[in-house]
Structure formats: structure tokens, C-alpha cells
């Protein structure tokens, strides 16, 4: 299986009373909390950590796009990816990804991804998220009622821009360009592998299957909450007659490795509690702009609620009491799900015991972690793990410790999984001997 190292690039110095004093980590987070000189060190530390992960042998390093966000300092992941392309040699570079509807014209994405693919010698994984409501509709002012239509059209434009050999006119509903002809063009042919991060909508699953793209479930709520979604994905693949190749899927998981479970609990508690306590403090008013979720998705959610209520009603009162009838439904199984980002934010566990209990973060000794992750990989049938080994305010030292221990003692146990399957969705770089040699980094003044 593929083990990929993911960085969200959180601002690491949000104040302790952030939850009480500030309404939201996203959209209208106050500028006074941002110290650019501290961010200078954060960015440099984060990029060091990603390069370190590449050196440790992770299959890929991953970055993503957020806007006006206190836990994601990458409005442009392409800048980070480009810098990493120059400081790594063999690791795949996964940009997870560019929110297509935010680029005007979307050919900008085709161009920049082609640049990264050329600079890196064909190591790019091209992620195309719709983007969260906070990023797209509020921070970037996109119309929630048109976001998905614009996204799909932008996707069509980018894919054509990569593949058509002649200059063409694009006569779209939202984008019209007389001359589409991108320079540079991607090394990977016919195009870099396309991965789609998505929630649990059937439309997205079907689209990924139809287009032969990787579906990624990037949830912060771990494998327990992810189970139903991945089950739904594979059921849909069965219905569509697709094979169960685990490399059709990617899954995000937070991990903390130490010598023992108790040591891991101790070492990673602060960073995990920082992330779930401060970084996911999002004002619910930004979570559900009308039109962001399709009516089909709303209908599926409401129908399952109605069904669940009907089942509850037919149960005997004693059974209902045992099932914790007074608790919110989504907490019954000790997992964090919910029909909207808003309901999920409200239910987040914030102390280390609960965070681990609910499966948000997998912690333990290398042996424990390997066993747990093997179980997760097999249960969810995912061939691509996107691992968060840095989160919250985790220091560079602890991040490197976590990364190294994972690479040395967990990775070897997981790598052989799914060896019977081919990963058709992995980058195909140029032959190593044909690639440019990167000089060792040395500032010119030091020569």
C-alpha cells in the first residue's frame, strides 16, 4: 500500500482562549492573531518536515488548499508543491488539490499543474476538490448555487486543455475562451493521475468510477466515522461492476507513534487537543450555504433520518433506553458524523481520551499502530493512506520523531498490503536517469 505524508500547515500559535474569545477559525478569523514573522518560521518548519518525510521514504507528500483559515496556511498549495519539487527527487507530490471553481479562467490550474509536473519530472498527483463552503462560498464569494456546475465545467476544461493537441475554443456555460492552448504541458500522459476528495455523496462515487479517478475521503474524524462512507463507496463500485482494487480509494488518518500507548497519549495530547479544540472551532453560520449540498444529497440524508426515526419508534422503550435514546443520534456509536459540516463541528470530541476513543487519532507503539492501521486499511479497503503525522501545534522535533518512528517501524509492516493489486492511479515519472539532477542546496553567497 501507499503511505503518504500530509501537511495541513496549521497556524500553531492560536491563543489558549481562542474558543471563548473568537467566533471562528475560518472565514472571519481576526488578522491580529496572525504574526507574519512567526509564520515565516512556521512555513519553513513545515516545509522542512515535508522534505524530511520524503527523505524518510514516504511514498508521497501532500498539501492542500484553504482560504482565510487558521489551521490551513496554504491558499496556494501549488507554491508549496513547486518548492518541494526542487528539494525532493523520487517522492510523489500530491496536491489535494486545487478547488477548480475558484480559478478564473480554470486553465490556470491546467497550466500550474503542468508546470509542477514538468519541474518534478512527472511526480504530480492532481487533486480536484469542490472545496469547503467556508473556502469557496464565503472566503472566495462563489455562488453556492452554481459552485458544483462551475466545478464540473472547469474540470472538463482542464482535462481538455491537457489532452487536446490543437488550440481550441471552449464554449462553456460559465467559461468562454477563444484560444485554449496551454504551455507547458504535463509530462504524464494522457494526464497526471486525478484524485477527487469528496464527502459521502453517491454522485461523486459514480463520477469517480465513470472517470476512473481515485476517490478520497478526507475526514478529520478518523476511521470509525469513515467506515459507513467507505462501505457506501465500495457498495456503489459493486453495483457499477467495478473491481475492489483498494487503490481506487484514499483515506486520511491522524497518527501518533511512540514507544508505548501511554507515552503516545502523553506526547500527542497537546497537539491533538489543539487541533480538535481550536482548529475545528468553525462558526456554524458558515457551514451550510444553501445550494452547496445537492438536493439529491439532502434527500438521501433526510430519508435516512426519517427511516431511523421510524425504526426508533417501533422499538420497545427499554431498548431505546439501552441504546442511549436521549443522546444525539450521531453520537450513539461513538463516532462523529452528521449531515452538515455545522452539525459535525458541534459534536467534535476535544479531549485526548475521547479523541482516541472515537478514532480521530490512532496512537500507540509502532506495533499497536501498525496493527490498527492494517485493520483500518483492510476494513475500509483503502490502498492510499494520507497520514497526518503533524497536527495542531505539534513541534518540529515531535513531528520528526513521529515521522521517523512511523517510517522505520510502522511503514515496513504496512507496505506489503494489497501487493496483489496494481496501483493504476500513481504518478509515472520520467526515468530517473533522464531527470535533472538537483544540486545540493547551498546559498550562492556561501560559495
Amino acid at each position: 500500500m501507499k503511505l503518504m505524508w500530509f501537511h495541513l500547515m496549521p497556524y500553531t500559535e492560536l491563543p489558549e482562549d481562542f474558543r471563548d474569545k473568537h467566533p471562528s477559525v475560518w472565514v472571519d478569523i481576526h488578522s491580529s492573531l496572525f504574526d507574519p514573522k512567526r509564520a515565516h518560521h512556521m512555513y519553513n518548519d513545515f516545509m522542512d518536515e515535508m522534505e524530511f518525510a520524503a527523505d524518510c521514504g514516504f511514498d508521497a507528500i501532500c498539501c492542500n488548499e484553504h482560504h482565510s483559515n487558521g489551521y490551513g496556511l496554504m491558499p496556494s498549495p501549488n507554491l508549496i508543491a513547486t518548492a518541494l519539487a526542487r528539494r525532493t527527487t523520487d517522492t510523489a507530490i500530491c496536491v489535494m488539490g486545487n478547488s477548480l471553481a475558484l480559478y478564473n479562467p480554470p486553465t490556470r490550474v491546467a497550466e500550474e499543474f503542468a508546470m509542477i509536473d514538468c519541474i518534478s519530472g512527472g511526480r504530480l498527483i492532481a487533486g480536484f476538490p469542490v472545496g469547503t463552503p467556508m473556502d469557496t462560498t464565503f472566503a472566495y464569494g462563489q455562488n453556492p448555487s452554481m459552485l458544483r456546475e462551475r466545478y464540473l465545467e472547469a474540470h472538463d476544461l482542464v482535462m481538455r486543455a491537457w489532452q487536446e493537441k490543437e488550440t481550441f475554443a471552449f464554449n462553456g456555460r460559465f467559461n468562454q475562451q477563444r484560444y485554449v492552448n496551454i504551455w507547458p504541458r504535463p509530462i504524464q500522459q494522457p494526464h497526471p493521475p486525478v484524485w477527487i476528495p469528496g464527502g459521502g455523496s453517491v454522485e461523486t462515487w459514480r463520477w469517480c468510477a465513470e472517470m476512473d479517478y481515485v476517490y478520497c475521503y478526507l475526514s478529520y474524524y478518523g476511521y470509525k466515522a469513515g467506515q459507513a462512507t467507505m462501505q457506501g463507496f465500495w457498495d456503489e463500485m459493486d453495483r457499477l461492476g467495478k473491481d475492489r482494487n483498494p487503490y481506487r480509494a484514499g483515506f486520511l488518518q491522524f497518527v501518533g507513534v511512540a514507544e508505548s500507548h501511554s507515552e503516545a497519549m502523553e506526547r500527542y495530547a497537546e497537539a491533538a487537543e489543539y487541533f480538535y479544540g481550536r482548529c475545528l472551532h468553525v462558526d456554524p453560520r458558515f457551514a451550510s450555504p444553501p445550494g452547496y449540498n445537492t438536493e439529491a444529497t439532502m434527500r438521501a440524508g433526510l430519508e435516512s433520518q426519517v427511516k431511523r426515526a421510524a425504526e426508533e419508534a417501533t422499538r420497545a422503550p427499554s431498548e431505546q433506553a439501552q441504546a442511549g435514546h436521549n443522546k444525539p443520534k450521531d453520537q450513539l456509536a461513538g463516532v462523529t458524523t452528521g449531515t452538515t459540516a455545522g452539525t459535525r463541528f458541534n459534536m467534535v470530541a476535544r479531549n485526548m481520551e475521547d479523541i482516541v476513543e472515537r478514532g480521530y487519532v490512532v496512537v500507540g507503539s509502532p506495533k499497536d499502530v501498525a496493527e490498527q492501521l492494517e485493520h483500518v486499511a483492510k476494513t475500509l479497503n483503502v490502498g492510499h493512506f494520507m497520514l497526518l503525522l503533524q497536527y495542531g501545534n505539534m513541534s518540529k522535533d515531535l513531528t520528526k520523531y513521529n515521522t521517523k518512528l512511523f517510517a522505520e517501524q510502522v511503514m515496513p509492516k504496512l507496505k506489503p498490503l494489497f501487493s496483489e493489486w496494481e496501483d493504476r492511479w500513481w504518478p509515472k515519472p520520467m526515468e530517473k536517469s533522464a531527470r535533472a539532477a538537483l544540486p545540493a542546496f547551498r546559498p550562492a553567497a556561501a560559495e
Binding site: 464565503f138 453560520r285 450555504p289 426519517v306
Partner: protein, 259 residues
Amino acid sequence: MSEPTTTTVDVNGHPCRVWTKGSGPKIGFLAGFGGLPRWIPFLDHLAESRTVVVPSMPGFPGATGHNILDTHLDWLVATRTLLEKAGLDGADLAGSSVGASFVAEIAALWPQSVRRIAMIAPFGLFDEKDPATDVWAQRAEDVPGLLCANGEIYKEMKAMPAGANSVEWPIEQTRAAEAAARIFWPLGNTKLERRLPLITAPTLLIWGEADRVMPRSYADRIAKAIPAGAKITTIVGAGHLAELDQPEAVAKAVLGHMG
């Protein structure tokens, strides 16, 4: 309160509900933010002396077809078509909030198609120094009190009636908010101000004294931009959707203006 007659007209291949009640000269009404999932007392007051005709715009309760309208021109043409098919060509036209914005547009672009117009706190403008409230970035529980001085009235209007489809009803309410977003996201500014000088119909502007969405200063801007000016009436005890808070007073002001 008796029920109106319901008919359906076709706009761009999608059905749009039209309610009709009363007798006498016609008066059209275009609903405000959230649309009209049910008949409201304000319309009964109008129907006491007029034939009140209430066409539902695409995407608002009782109508679909909002998601094929991509530009403001698409919306204007669809609304004009809707009014014609509802038999309102040449009639008096009133509207609230989102709907009021289209009353202004129709009066500006097709001046012969309306007689007199009345607008309750229309959308369409944005002033950085006196910004309209973001009606979409709201917690669900805050919406009723934002739209009405008495939030309970809005809640009652939106509450699912017995026997309604418990899946489709909430989707219809979200769709109404989406349709408004499709037209007015993110600021509500459709540059209506540029077209106001084309309005020739005698105009009444109605503003809830406790409107928490549209600043009162917009009434003056609108009145100033219309060559013949506009009469401004403030309604005590009313919020943004003044016709819900004070149905009788708003109906009286509208009917008084229409003559």
C-alpha cells in the same frame, strides 16, 4: 382565511405556482426571502378589495427551474415571462425583499407592463458604509428573528404542516434560500441602482421600522434614483418581511397607493 385558487404556468419548461384570490382590479405580489410555502394573512387583506395574483418565482416554494438561470438577464426574462403568463401584464405590482427587487427591474425595463408599484425593502443594492446583513451566513435558529420583528410568525409560516412530505418540505425551504442566493450572492448587489432612473410608474417604498436586513438608508437612495421620486412609508412593529409582521398595515399602505 379561505384558500386561494392554485394554477400552474410554465417558465422555461418548469412549473411555477400561481395563487389567485378576490375580485376587482388585479394586483400582483412577488414574495420575499424564503418565498411563500403557505398563504398568508397579508394576501387576504389585499384580496378584500382586489384580485390578488401571486406567482412564485423559479426555485421559490411552488416553483422550480432556478438552476437553469445563470445570469441576471436570465432571471429578468424568466420573471417577465412569469408575470405575463400569470395575467399580470399592465397590472399593479407589489413585492417584498427579493421579489421587490424584481418589481423595480420589471418597472424599469418594461415600463408599459406595470401600472403602479409598491416595494417592501427591496434587495439589489449594497452600500459598504451601511451594509445589508448577510442573510445566508446565519445559524438556522437566528433566521426567523432576523427576517421578522416577531420571529414566531416566520417560524409558523415555515413550519411543516400536518400531512406534508417530511423530506420534500425542508428541501423546498432550502431551495428558496438557494434561489435567492443564486440571484443575489454574495452582497445582494445586482446594480439595480443603474436601472432605477428608468422607472416611470408611481412608486411606494415600504420599510419595516425594525428591518435588520436592509438598512433604512437604502429607501432614500432608491427614492432619489427614481426620477419622479417615491413615497416612503415606515411600518411600526415590522422587520424585513414587514407584510408578515404587520399584514393589515402593509396591505393598507399598498392599497392606498394603488388607489
